[in-house]
């Protein structure tokens, strides 16, 4: 609803933009009619929800291509970036949060907190540009953009370049894909991950002095077992929820990060749609983002019982 109203308030006459500023009035009218732009707002809202619910997004008014096929091109690229970032976030976020919590009050704790709070509070645009300048220009370790597909012939199976290259054993392509993936994925991860170590640290602190941990130690369990089974495992429950939330953050971050790294994903596609008042495409992008967040939360729900046997899937108690 918010997207619908904001997009319709920003430009009252998108047909003029889609048909071209010097289009004949009849052409502008035809475009407006094709996209229901002359209908009352409630009717337009109906068509908006119809598109959302049926997944039939129609044709892109600016390219003439089916929006679904455009989404199917961009979405896997974003998924590749987001999943790679997620791996980095899970490893770094849980690792750093754990160390920070276990070394509470030490210089290491302070250093880790400064690190994740700094990256977390850095705006995406600034952080991404700094990453490009440092790691592509001053220390040329990584390419400044692209997903590495240029110059390689391969069949798109999943749409995820790295995966497709792997499935087809195209090793140079896989190498190129990974090489191009590291910097944007790490940048996206570092700029989004702050909440994960923070919650992990807080959960560790809550858990490490709790009664059940004391009881475990009293039972004579090895310190390693206490930490792994009683501290880490319990601390992961809250962290899992936060990681699922972070998935949504990552999607929003892709809008900027993909722009800076010339990454052909849904974030950049939505940015273009926003700046060109392309409502039909925007609807589809919102749909994809929403589905992404829902799926992430669903996965988190599935993981809870694995971490805590007290939680079960199915009927509530």
């Amino acid at each position: 609803m918010i997207v619908f109203f904001i997009s319709h308030v920003l430009n009252p006459n998108p047909a003029l933009l889609w048909a071209g500023p010097k289009a004949r009035p009849e052409t502008v009218k035809a475009v407006a009619a094709a996209y229901h732009l002359n209908d009352p707002l409630p009717a337009q809202l109906y068509y908006y929800f119809q598109s959302l619910l049926t997944g039939n997004f129609g044709l892109d008014p600016q390219t003439g291509r089916p929006i679904l096929s455009e989404i199917m091109f961009y979405a896997p690229n974003t998924l590749e970036l987001v999943l790679a970032s997620m791996v980095i976030i899970i490893v770094l976020g849980i690792g750093l949060g754990y160390i920070s919590g276990m070394r509470f009050g030490t210089k290491i704790d302070s250093a880790i907190r400064i690190f994740y709070l700094t990256t977390w509070s850095t705006p995406y645009y600034f952080g991404a540009l700094v990453a490009v300048l440092v790691f592509s220009s001053y220390i040329p370790l990584f390419p400044s953009g692209g997903n590495g597909t240029v110059g390689f012939s391969y069949t798109s199976i999943t749409g995820v370049f790295v995966l497709d290259a792997l499935l087809q054993a195209k090793w140079p392509a896989l190498q190129s894909g990974l090489y191009h993936l590291i910097l944007p994925a790490t940048t996206l991860a570092l700029l989004s991950f702050g909440i994960v170590p923070r919650i992990m640290r807080s959960s560790i602190l809550d858990t490490r002095w709790s009664m059940h941990v004391k009881a475990a130690r009293a039972r004579g369990l090895q310190e390693g077992e206490v930490r792994q089974k009683h501290i880490l495992r319990n601390a992961l429950i809250d962290t899992t929820t936060v990681i699922a939330t972070t998935f949504g953050w990552l999607f929003s971050g892709t809008i900027i990060v993909e722009q800076v790294f010339a990454w052909p994903g849904i974030g950049q596609f939505s940015y273009t749609a926003i700046t060109s008042d392309n409502y039909p495409v925007l609807v589809a992008c919102v749909f994809v983002f929403t589905v992404g967040v829902i799926v992430a939360n669903f996965i988190a729900d599935i993981i809870y019982p694995l971490l805590d046997p007290r939680i079960t899937l199915g009927e509530g108690g």
């Binding site: 091109f73 690792g95 597909t149 240029v150 110059g151 008042d277």
Partner: protein, 610 residues
């Protein structure tokens, strides 16, 4: 898990990342995007911020789209690379214009083929032009001024007709359609085609800049068989498949377009121009020298980083980055002549009298023209890399010097501005603070629109607000994102009073002074002060239909003087345009046509000096 183990994991992860950066870096044989000079110096990486809208020549309406289309497709004529008024034949061997200027007859080159091997002929040219007209997408009007699918007397070229004709071996029925004389495009025989003007929106009249319109992508040859295999022609609709695919007669083939990332072009191995003797070649048809051109679409900061690291050899940046790139060693930054800046954008302040009553008073408009400190804008916003101008003919274009003879750009004079405002009946302030006409009306606050995506417009708007506020004209700055902003200034609605004033701009649709003059005098847009003067319209028509230089100059001079004395628009500035590339790149032929790549038209002549 111990702390030490966790720490080791973190360190290993960081180490792996650095290892991957070094270890995974492909060598130049596996990736064209790696840092360093191109493999064997037969490829070039160009970077710019904006990307194509589509690669369909009948649909693309932004410079980056034209830039790619110009490498893959070809039209009948183009500029010769040193002038924007002299044309060279591309697919046309020669042409003649009838004495009344209503008919253009082209003799086509023999032996031209598309990159898939399909031969080109006059029937295909007929198809290509009508395809643009029948699809009727945003840039259609460029041809639609003079040409139309129908003749107004029952003959109408439709999408079904275009999709059914056999263009390689046309039947008698096919020929009877294409050879019909009463239509916009008429095939004379397989190698001759005639354009009959008078069917488009301009009415029955010649058009002196018709060749300029034929130079645009809208008039480029497309292969009917290729289009048919990608969905054919649908009236009023873009062809979705041809948005990202392209196949033409040009010296480069499209290898890939990854929207949001890059375009990759490879040399057309079967290019027809390669078979021509050198004596017949010109810059527009010479075979490509470099094997591979990759264009990346990245923000300015990333492009500068890539230029420094050697990952990009050329980048396109606005002139406000001049001092940044000028300081990079091994890089050449050069400012081009004013025509290039004009092709990109001419800027002005519009004042819509239909939306804001005080603008009906010429004294008010003159006060505004005197109240803006142009030199401060040029110095502070553009670091001196812009010029003031007098419109509507743009600087550097044909007839600019003649049409502005005796007229100097509006000058900043705050005292005079305050006096004029007082004469108009409003309270005003001299620079020393003295209040003039204290019993007069207080000038009402007026909304001032500008493009919030443009840093230069943003800064200029602040200066204008300060300048006019100091004499007694309070502005309320109203920024809008580019697309929304253009939607407003191109609107011809007279009911909106929200945007009575602002910074307007115009960039060329085709390279001709008349394109600008038509916009400023005849289109009645909010963004051109809703100016619709009968004399100006008549002079514009006279200029557009005359092949007599003196008549055109006289018409443009009259229009310029009328608008200048009327203070219809306050002509602000034209920013310079610059080229930025690594040293040693040769063969860049600057040509503002279509403002492609910002500053050059074709990539076929580009090479390295060593």
């Amino acid at each position: 898990m111990t702390i030490a183990v966790t720490l080791v994991i973190v360190i290993v992860v960081a180490g792996v990342a650095v290892y991957l950066g070094i270890g995974l870096r492909p060598n130049s044989s596996t990736s064209a995007t790696s840092s360093g000079s191109p493999n064997g110096r037969t490829s070039l990486v160009l970077e710019e911020e904006s990307q194509p809208d589509t690669l369909d020549p009948a649909v693309t309406y932004v410079t980056p789209g034209w830039e790619v289309v110009d490498q893959v497709y070809q039209g009948l004529v183009t500029y010769n690379g040193s002038s924007i008024t002299q044309f060279e034949g591309v697919l046309a061997q020669s042409w003649t214009i009838s004495s009344d200027g209503m008919n253009y007859t082209f003799v086509l080159r023999n032996g031209v083929t598309f990159s898939n091997g399909d031969p080109f002929n006059a029937y295909i040219m007929w198809y290509s032009i009508y395809r643009t007209l029948v699809m009727e997408q945003a840039p259609y009007w460029i041809l639609g001024q003079n040409l139309a699918p129908g003749n107004g007397a029952g003959f109408n070229v439709t999408d079904a007709m275009l999709n059914s004709i056999n263009y390689s071996a046309p039947s008698q029925a096919n020929l009877s359609v294409m050879e019909r004389s009463q239509q916009s495009v008429q095939v004379l025989n397989a190698s001759e085609i005639r354009f009959n003007l008078g069917y488009g929106s301009n009415g029955v009249a010649p058009y002196s800049e018709f060749l300029s319109t034929l130079e645009t992508p809208m008039a480029m040859a497309v292969d009917p068989a290729y289009v048919a295999s990608n969905g054919g022609v649908t009236a009023g609709r873009p062809n979705g498949a041809l948005t990202t695919k392209a196949m033409g007669t040009g010296f480069y083939e499209l290898q890939s377009w990854v929207p949001g990332q890059s375009v990759s072009l490879v040399k057309n191995p079967g290019y027809w121009g390669a078979k021509l003797p050198k004596s017949e070649l010109n810059n527009a048809i010479a075979p490509a020298i470099l094997n591979n051109i990759i264009i990346y679409y990245k923000p300015a900061a990333a492009s500068i980083a890539d230029l420094k690291s050697g990952a990009a050899q050329m980048i396109f940046l606005p002139v406000t980055f001049y001092n940044v790139t000028k300081g990079i060693s091994g890089v050449t930054t050069k400012v081009l002549s004013p025509a290039f800046g004009s092709a990109e954008a001419v800027s002005y302040v519009y004042m819509d009298p239909l939306a804001f009553e005080p603008f009906n008073n010429t004294l008010v408009r003159e006060a505004i023209a005197c109240g803006i400190d142009y030199q401060v804008i040029i110095k502070n916003v553009f670091a001196g890399l812009a010029i003031q101008w007098v419109g509507p003919v743009p600087p550097g274009f044909q007839y600019y010097n003649q049409s502005t003879t005796g007229l100097s750009p509006y000058q900043y004079n705050a005292t005079k501005a305050a006096e004029l405002l007082a004469q108009a009946g409003y309270v005003s302030h001299l620079p020393d603070g003295t209040k003039l006409n204290p019993s007069g009306k207080v000038f009402p606050s007026v909304n001032f629109l500008y493009d919030s995506d443009s840093q230069t417009d943003f800064e200029a708007a602040q200066i204008i607000e300060s300048n006019l506020g100091s004499i007694g004209i309070p502005l309320t700055l109203l920024p809008l994102p580019y697309r929304t902003y253009t939607g407003v200034i191109y609107s011809s609605s007279t009911s909106s009073t929200s945007y009575p004033m602002g910074i307007g701009f115009y960039s060329e649709d085709y390279t001709a002074s008349i394109d600008y003059v038509y916009y400023f005098t005849s289109d009645n847009y909010i963004g051109t002060s809703n100016y619709a003067d009968g004399n100006a319209i008549a002079w514009t028509l006279q200029a557009s239909t005359s092949f007599n230089n003196a008549t055109v100059i006289s018409s443009f001079t009259n229009i310029t003087k009328a608008m200048y004395d009327n203070y219809t628009d306050v002509w602000l500035y034209v920013a310079d345009m610059m080229t930025v590339q690594q040293n040693g790149i040769t063969g860049i032929i600057p040509n503002p046509a279509g403002s492609a790549a910002g500053y050059f038209l074709y990539f076929n002549t580009i090479d390295y000096s060593s």
